[in-house]
Symmetry: C4
Subunit: 313 residues, 4 copies
């Protein structure tokens, strides 16, 4: 059996930048990242630090901020204690613990510029260190302000794709299709879809990439869901293929979505992929929307991947 | 009578992403939102919170900030009171009300980092809670800074559309037209208009969408107003139709405007629609501008929807 | 004499959005603004306030900030004085002036959250007002942070145009030309120019607009200067015209420049215009650059408008 | 020997904006800047200051902030000392040094709004200066917040190019090629390359610019590396040329890369160039990626410029 019999008549597109030596695993992961590990990227350059602080999870980010606050205060407390707690105006106890904690809390009150004054410098050296610490505090919180804004304002993954692609009846023939919705309240407009079919060419041993023709590749508005459809007609590389052919050829459907976020005026790109194992045959998508009596549509976002038995036409 | 007689020769455009099952109500509301309710959108995910905080009204936003300030202080006041107000240096009274309010105001002075010091911690536990609170305060105001900037810098609705679309005499025939101005002082340039005519196809029971040909679909500069004109010639789906035909077919003119905001370097999209009920026949727009003696033009933005009797040519 | 004899064979472009009823004055001012006054624009809507605060001059902006600081403190001082200065812990004098100034400076120390504590609240009512004021202070400075960032990061006018357009010899014929440079250190790339020639059509009494063909309408890089050239060949609307013809027809050359600012990743648009009075005949631009011995080019930005006698070819 | 024999049949592209009078040095430096010195650019205009503060190195920026902090405090300390340190509530010594340092540290505590209160104003004049200083402090740190955010969020140079361009065997003939990777973790997509070949035309004495045809000029995804290839076929201006011809003609390959940064939603432009001396003949690039047993690719970014002997086909 010729695994993908009708490919000789196809013009192969560029390799998308994914290279042609990909192995058995998928090229693009479900979340749109790539199956590539990069060595030699300098982790402690400021732009990598910024990138990591912007993209890490929210709790981890807050944890790092808190940890940084504790460590900075501990370091300055050590400096103050080294200078001597007798160079402060203070009323607390004189045990080592009392002195250490007073140094720590004086540092915290300086770093945050709360400065109650019940502990205050009584020597020029302490005043100098405290001036430096309050400057550092203000700059740190300036940095935190920028990071918090950067975290919120950067484009987030928003599209929710159906877990499976389907090969289902479509206008008297069949079609490959998947569905997605916007999970957020932002308005997305001018949404464009590109689907690239990739498979392992047995003869050459390298991956081939073919862009699939879509019934429609762009929609102007996106208030509900969009079912992207590639009709499997005679011009399609999928024509005549069966489920098992796709598996043997380690086929993968790479999905590239581009949109414009109307609320924040920025372009949004998102990717996902469907491997042969994630393509179901003979099912179709259930409707997600119902029309209510008052004329409004109601759409249940959680139904994006819901399927039902496809009745043969 | 065939309600929309000459549509058989039309190529229907894509459905704009609005679906074909729309009911009797309008598809696009006057303010450009959609007649769709979305279920299953997680309201308490951070990106939804951010989106809501950015897009809610100004007074509601300030009210929420104030409420958050009160609640945070009340919570910390409860913690301080639980620890015991005897662990503070303070000179206030000792009634429960005095102690509670002192706890509350110490919290406020800590959260805002004003820290007068007339109430100050007298135990390590209080100092630790206060350090935590001042850290929380700084991060909260960092967040508020970002939110305030995000609220101001995001693109705002700016175009002001005429309340009604008109079908009026135009170059010996008639045309569908509407008018809009930029209500803000920002310079808008490269303004593009798309008008999609949608109606309920009685035979199939589903909505049809046709993009209308415009006399001009883009202008480079936009200092005054723009009257967008669709000439109703033989190629128009509106050719030969009357007011009542549009109403019967639940017709709607969906308007998509794209522009570039020169002042803030961002793309602006805005939408509106005119239902058959909002289209007036036999009127035309009054001029909005008058030429002054010194050679400058004067335009009254409030006249954008002003009409007058159209004199037959 | 037919004022603009060869215009009958021209296809008129759209009117740029400037309308066709413009009077004797220029359509576009030297700084790119329009000769249009807009009535009915709501000046106190938040977006207009933001726009004004972002675009006003730097000294005026700082002055407004300072004035707001004074007024806010005066208002809160009045509240504190109304409550009674005996409800404060303070050591200052008791003359009305002393009390008033202490109220004012307590307010300033609260609004800026400096909170020395030498004046501090001695009643719950004062504490409550002070808590409110410190909250207001933090939000105000959050706003100021956003405004300062918005002022700096928005695209600024950067192109410096030659004061005059020239009609000068060019490749055996003549051409209309002007020159401009980037006055800033930012890298501008993908620079595009559009030149629209507009004149008053005597027969119809309305303005006509024609886009001029340019020798080159886009450059990829813009490290030095760019002389934009419209060759006056037989296809040009300027063919055969003289200086006085342009003046009679109230001609104006409207210039639209688009570029991408590489440093801040944003699109830049700038406009200017040359009226017939600002077009010089028979001069050409002096070179702005000299090649130094070490192979680098040296360009004097101030020479952008420098001209010299054009030698006839 | 005709130095660049087959150029007569070429259509020369525009000069990229680099002018045609370039001398012996390179037009574009390795880091993408231009070999042009600009005179007359006003260095102290606010936009130049902002540009410089955004683009200078991190340590220099922090150093300037620290210096500004010291100088501001010294100036205010001089004012306070001029008013007289007897107008403060303070407990420190009375030597000139003590008084000067107390003035300095009171200033620091006011500028950073830490305000311990152990030194506090005891006259209205001091209070007024201190109010002004705390206002200045808040505005300065608002500015620093914006600058820090602007520094981080602006697009950074990210592409790492191979040090050398190669002329290597390619599909039975030869090709000019270079390679680059994304050094950062950001996802770059829709990457486009333009290569312009420039040389000194001996006859006219001026530089010529020709855009080279590329085997592929755009890739959709960029997870690994991209080797940009110009096949040297009969249509190529390099056809039949040798290493020494390029040197004689002072040839230079100017590389323009455009991409979209998916993480921060902004367009990225980067430039570099290869002079004839930086083009190696007869070598080819070593593979950068290896396929691991688990199906993931591993790419070593440091190998971007690694070459090996090219085996003749």
């Amino acid at each position: 059996m010729a695994p993908l019999p009708n490919l000789s008549r196809l013009r192969f597109t560029d390799d998308l930048g994914l290279g042609t030596r990909s192995g058995p695993g998928r090229s693009v992961n479900k979340d749109g990242t790539f199956n590539v590990r990069r060595l030699g990227v300098p982790a402690f350059r400021s732009y990598e630090l910024y990138h990591n602080l912007i993209t890490m999870g929210g709790f981890r980010f807050l944890g790092l901020l808190f940890l940084g606050f504790l460590i900075t205060n501990a370091l300055f407390a050590a400096v103050y204690a080294g200078i001597g707690m007798d160079q402060f105006v203070r009323t607390g106890g004189n045990s080592p613990l009392d002195r250490g904690l007073d140094a720590f809390f004086f540092s915290a009150q300086t770093l945050t510029t709360v400065g109650y004054g019940h502990i205050s410098p009584n020597s020029h050296l302490v005043s100098a260190v405290a001036a430096l610490e309050s400057l550092l505090g203000l700059l740190s919180f300036a940095l935190a302000t920028g990071l918090l804004y950067g975290r919120f304002s950067r484009p987030h993954a928003q599209m929710c794709f159906s877990r499976n692609g389907l090969v289902a009846p479509f206008r008297g023939s069949t079609a490959f299709m998947f569905r997605f919705v916007n999970r957020r309240s932002n308005q997305l407009i001018e949404v464009e879809a590109t689907v690239v079919f990739t498979f392992l060419d047995v003869e050459s041993g390298s991956r081939r990439f073919v862009t699939l023709a879509l019934e429609r590749s762009k929609i102007n508005l996106f208030p509900t869901s969009w079912t992207v459809v590639h009709p499997i007609d005679e011009a399609s590389p999928l024509f005549g293929l069966k489920d098992e052919d796709l598996r043997k050829a380690q086929a993968e459907f790479i999905v590239l979505i581009k949109a414009f976020d109307d609320t924040f005026a920025q372009s949004i790109y998102q990717r996902t992929s469907y491997t042969a194992d994630e393509v179901l045959w003979g099912l179709r998508f259930k409707p997600m929307s119902t029309l209510r009596a008052d004329g409004t549509m109601e759409m249940d976002v959680d139904l994006v991947g819901a399927t039902e038995e496809a009745v043969e036409p």
